[in-house]
């Protein structure tokens, strides 16, 4: 598809404000909730005095661990809110105020008096922490530790070696729309409008927590204002809203305050990554070690799988990739756009740049020399891998060949100018999905699937997939998504949404065409409906490795006097299967790259050792890029035909855009200044030295 493709089907509703988000459903009698976060970093709640709160005008109720509905156990303990007196970290919810208005609920929450028995807390991730351990698996179920060949021997004998440690701070997703739920109970049924990335997972989790049949729960997520992973699994707001609605007998709306998100919806954990590369004089890698140290909470083990890219990217006959984690009294980390790959590729691709400098091989050429047809760790051949083509095409478009490789070789007045490159990588995940296609007697089509559009354009792309599969014009197709009343589907996550949902939509549409064909091309009154489920189609252990690749090039300026780093140009070329919609794909890719600029230069919060919370919790103090920070971002792709993926031939594009950006920028900063900053974000003081 060479044309940009259709505009978003719900675009008009969004820009006119008629698209309704979770907090914009107001059933009659709605009450409003406001949470009370724990004010100590660890301890027990000794007493909660709700008298003053309940005396506030408009007060309805205060839920605490003493009166809240009991929940059944679940494997995600971050959802077991108001069940006991334990405070595992600062910001953990200890009460929920419910009132007739949001303002009254906020005033009530401020009036709840909580007494604590504080305990000693431990919130600082230190590389030598005595409680570090190697987890059996990291996020996505990958092995915590892997060894291939003899790393130590090969590294010791390598003519060229790089040994560098990269550190990153905690990162926060901060979607525009904060986590929000409007919940109501009716005749033993629960309806929840929830801002989430997958309503089926929310429905199933609520069924487990409340001990009820999932058929009695409807979860609606028709429009979602961004997720980036922090809405990928159910979060406490939906549980609290449902509890409060049951407790009060009224519909309850809960919108989490921005400043509370950092403590309760997950974060990308801070990481210490040591990279050791051993290579020949020609830059070809003989030994690669990627050792990751990170934290999790005492509530739930979540280990950012940052060493994973080193198992997939380059030739590495001798390899060690390990994760070590310590459970601290900190908020629970979780998914953030490209968990594992985004920070892991930052470290690996900076180390590759250091190897290029050490070996004297051009950074593009170095990556080409270390290309591999098979995934090194599994030995499986890639179904398609066009990293080299991305590097070459990116170098051509960017003008890489004119580069003087010497650091600090280019200046414009007070500005030092540098360029850098990094590879991008993201695995292809696919999940089983169901879908339904219906045709009316008059030839109108309706596709039903519980997909979630978190701002990506999923609704539009699924209509395009349906139009292709049916062989009809787009304007004859209506798409219904975002409710558990529709055929079940997986979450919008792991860059797997379009591939997984699209496969089921494609299958249902083809089945529907088959039904129509079987009737000689006629449709009876009442229409025809075909359902599809790809549970039997998606292979669980395919014989090949599947991933998208890319290359990103950055040009930065560094002000010699102030240390201010600005990205002047950012150019990415991606090989991500067949691009189904140029318009929404470009938006996803430049969105990811922009978030990568944030990771490189701006984002990061500080764990306050005294108070045990992330200090920067609002958008004034936690900086994300503004328009002025993003001057020239280009995303391109090369056409890639891979019939082993799914019927559309697509790979995911939601996450690969953020993978590699930070390294490309950091490498450009080194080229500009000669200063190798191995700690993100690259703030002025690190460049000034």
């Amino acid at each position: 598809m060479s044309t940009p493709g259709p505009v978003r089907l719900e675009g008009r509703e969004k820009v006119t404000g008629t698209a309704r988000y979770a907090a914009e459903h107001t059933p009659p009698g709605t009450a409003y909730a406001w949470p009370v976060p724990a004010a100590v970093p660890r301890g027990r709640v000794v007493a909660i005095d709700t008298g003053a709160a309940l005396a506030e005008p408009g007060a309805v109720a205060v839920l605490t661990h003493e009166n809240a509905p009991r929940l059944k156990d679940t494997d995600d303990a971050t959802l077991l809110v108001l069940q006991n007196d334990r405070v595992p970290h600062r910001g953990w919810y200890v009460a929920l105020a419910v009132a007739d208005t949001p303002e009254a609920a906020r005033a009530m929450a401020a009036a709840v008096r909580v007494s604590y028995a504080p305990e000693e807390h431990d919130v600082v991730l230190a590389p030598g922490h005595p409680r570090l351990y190697v987890p059996e698996t990291a996020n996505a179920g990958v092995p915590g530790s892997r060894e291939r060949g003899d790393f130590d021997g090969a590294y010791a004998s390598a003519p060229v070696r790089v040994d560098a440690t990269y550190t990153t701070r905690a990162l926060h997703n901060h979607p525009m729309e904060p986590h929000a739920t409007t919940a109501r109970w009716e005749d033993g049924r629960l309806v929840a409008y929830d801002s989430c990335q997958g309503a089926n997972a929310v429905q199933e989790t609520l069924a487990g927590l409340f001990g009820m049949d999932k058929e009695r729960i409807t979860v609606v997520a028709e429009h979602v204002g961004g997720g980036f992973g922090c809405k990928g699994t159910p979060r406490p707001q939906v549980v609290l809203a449902a509890m409060a609605a049951r407790h009060t007998g009224r519909p309850v709306r809960l919108v989490l305050p921005r400043a509370q998100l950092a403590a309760v919806v997950g974060h990308r954990a801070p990481l210490v990554q040591r990279l050791r590369l051993g290579a020949g004089e020609d830059g070809v890698i003989s030994a690669l070690a990627h050792e990751v140290t990170t934290h999790t909470s005492t509530v739930r083990e979540f280990v950012e799988q940052a060493a994973v890219p080193s198992r997939a990217m380059y030739v590495s006959p001798n390899s060690r990739t390990t994760h070590r984690v310590v459970a601290l009294d900190v908020p629970s980390p979780s998914w953030m756009r490209a968990p594992g790959e985004a920070p892991g590729m930052y470290a690996l691709e900076c180390a590759m740049d250091e190897l290029a400098c050490a070996s004297g091989v051009d950074p593009v050429e170095l990556r080409v020399r270390n290309d591999t047809a098979a995934e090194p760790d599994s030995g499986k051949p890639y179904s398609s891998r066009h990293l080299v083509e991305c590097l070459r095409e990116g170098a051509r478009r960017f003008g890489w060949d004119a580069r003087d490789p010497r650091p600090r070789s280019r200046a414009e007045g007070p500005l030092l100018v540098g360029t850098g490159v990094a590879s991008s990588y993201y695995p292809v995940y696919l999940m089983p999905s169901s879908a339904e296609a219906h045709v009316t007697e008059t030839g109108r089509y309706r596709v039903r699937i519980n997909a979630t559009d978190i701002g990506t354009g999923a609704r539009t792309v699924l209509a395009q997939v349906a139009a292709d599969a049916l062989g009809v014009a787009l304007d004859r197709i209506a798409v219904e998504i975002g409710s558990t009343a529709l055929p079940a589907a997986p979450l919008a996550g792991g860059s797997a949404g379009t591939g997984s949902w699209g496969w089921a939509v494609h299958k249902a549409c083809r089945a529907l065409n088959g039904m129509v064909d079987a009737r000689g091309g006629t449709v009876p009154p009442g229409g025809l409906t075909a359902g599809a489920d790809t549970a039997g189609d998606v292979p669980s252990d395919p014989p090949d490795a599947k991933a998208a690749f890319g290359a990103q090039f950055a040009e930065v300026t560094v002000d010699r006097d102030t240390g201010e780093v600005r990205v002047r140009r950012l150019l990415g070329v991606f090989a991500a299967g067949r691009i189904l919609s140029a318009r929404t794909a470009r938006s996803q890719l430049i969105g990811g790259m922009t978030m990568g600029v944030g990771m490189a230069l701006l984002e990061g919060s500080t764990m306050d050792p005294r108070f045990g919370d992330f200090a920067e919790r609002d958008l004034a103090s936690y900086h994300v890029p503004t328009h002025a920070d993003v001057r020239g971002v280009e995303a391109h792709w090369i056409d890639e035909t891979d019939l082993l993926l799914n019927p559309m031939g697509s790979k995911g594009i939601g996450e690969i855009g953020i993978v590699g950006t930070a390294a490309a920028v950091a490498n450009a900063v080194h080229h500009a200044t000669g200063v190798r900053v191995r700690d993100l974000p690259i703030l002025p003081e690190k460049v000034l030295g």
Binding site: P414, D561, G563, L602, E616, T626, A628, D629, P684
Partner: protein, 334 residues
């Protein structure tokens, strides 16, 4: 946010009388800072006296060749005003370096002067802060303080004043016109904001029920002026350090200079020591460095903000060098 009473003043005297009669009250200007603080629970006025529609919206030429800027002149209008742009470029540049377009459209001149520190502890009512709760302590001194003060701080408080506009006004010898129950008075801008000392809850010398009615600028200093701000991102971020300067050079020597730093202290920091060192000195890089370092010798950086001292020195030298250059140099790049 606590319930509060609201009244819209019909004129300046009515506004002052309303506040004088209500000890827990506050004036409401553009609301870009106060409303946030009310939501956070940092400010909880029992009464808001809305002064937003008082006719203090004029930028007027004064007989001495200066300007009188009404307290309700919006930041956008001030930055765009032809007389400000032509004769006080440092002021126009400073205002445009602050906040975002939307906020500048709402924020007022008086409110800009009276905005509170963005210290994270001040804004979090669950934590101690001497500025918010006198005597409760200052966790910033040992805690998160990268953005905070290196000059003039005290054991009680290491906050910075966040305004860009006020830094240019300090360099330009502005005055603040106040009106209160006892009549009118005029305070030099450099004496309007306070150092924290042991009363960090007092940001300024303003008295109860006193209203900023205007800011006065004397005739522009000889030579040229400029403002340069260093910040983490290209827009919508507070200054790590900033410099407002005016410089007049005749035959290679500095005949007049005004220099002020932002982002370094509890108030806009007028660099009198540097000015003294520069007056009559050759307009060279060496003089600029020596003068900036003389001023910053008083700096007492905290654990994580020592970089601000060298950053401020570099910025000052850069701005002065550019002002001294015949072609205007690189002051505004990029």
């Amino acid at each position: 946010m606590r319930a509060f009473a609201y009244t819209r003043a019909g004129d300046v005297d009515e506004a002052i009388a309303a506040l004088a009669a209500s000890p827990g009250g506050m004036f409401l200007g553009g609301g870009t800072n106060l409303v946030d603080l009310m939501k956070l629970g940092v400010a909880s006025p029992g009464l808001l006296v809305d002064i937003g529609r008082l006719p203090l919206t004029e930028v007027r030429e004064t007989p001495d060749g200066g300007l009188r800027i009404g307290a309700n002149v919006r930041n956008s209008d001030l930055a765009a005003h032809p007389a400000v742009r032509a004769r006080y470029p440092a002021l126009s540049q400073a205002v445009l370096a602050g906040a975002s377009g939307q906020i500048r459209n709402t924020a007022t001149t008086g409110g800009n002067l009276l905005q509170r520190t963005r210290c994270l502890y001040f804004q979090d009512v669950a934590k101690p802060c001497n500025k918010r709760e006198p005597g409760s302590g200052c966790p910033a001194r040992e805690g998160v303080h990268r953005d905070l003060a290196v000059l003039g701080h005290s054991a009680a408080c290491v906050a910075t004043h966040p305004s860009d506009m006020a830094v240019a006004l300090a360099a330009l010898d502005a005055v603040v016109h106040l009106r209160g129950p006892g009549g009118e008075r005029t305070v030099p801008l450099c004496g309007f904001h306070r150092l924290p000392g042991d009363e960090p809850h007092r940001d300024t010398v303003i008295e109860r029920a006193e209203l900023v009615v205007a800011v006065g600028l004397p005739a522009p200093p000889a030579g040229r002026s400029a403002y340069r701000k260093a910040r983490d991102r290209a827009s919508y971020a507070f200054a790590l350090a900033s410099v407002a300067a005016a410089l007049d050079v005749r035959e290679g020597a500095v005949t007049d200079v005004r220099l002020a730093f932002g982002g370094l202290a509890h108030k806009p920091w007028r660099a009198r020591v540097a000015e003294e060192a520069l007056r009559g000195a050759p307009a060279t890089e060496e003089s600029f460095v020596r003068a900036a370092e003389a001023e910053l010798a008083a700096a007492e950086p905290l654990r994580d903000n020592a970089f601000k001292v060298s950053l401020a020195r570099n910025l000052a030298v850069r701005v002065l060098r550019d002002l001294a250059a015949p072609d205007g140099g690189e002051a505004s790049a990029p």
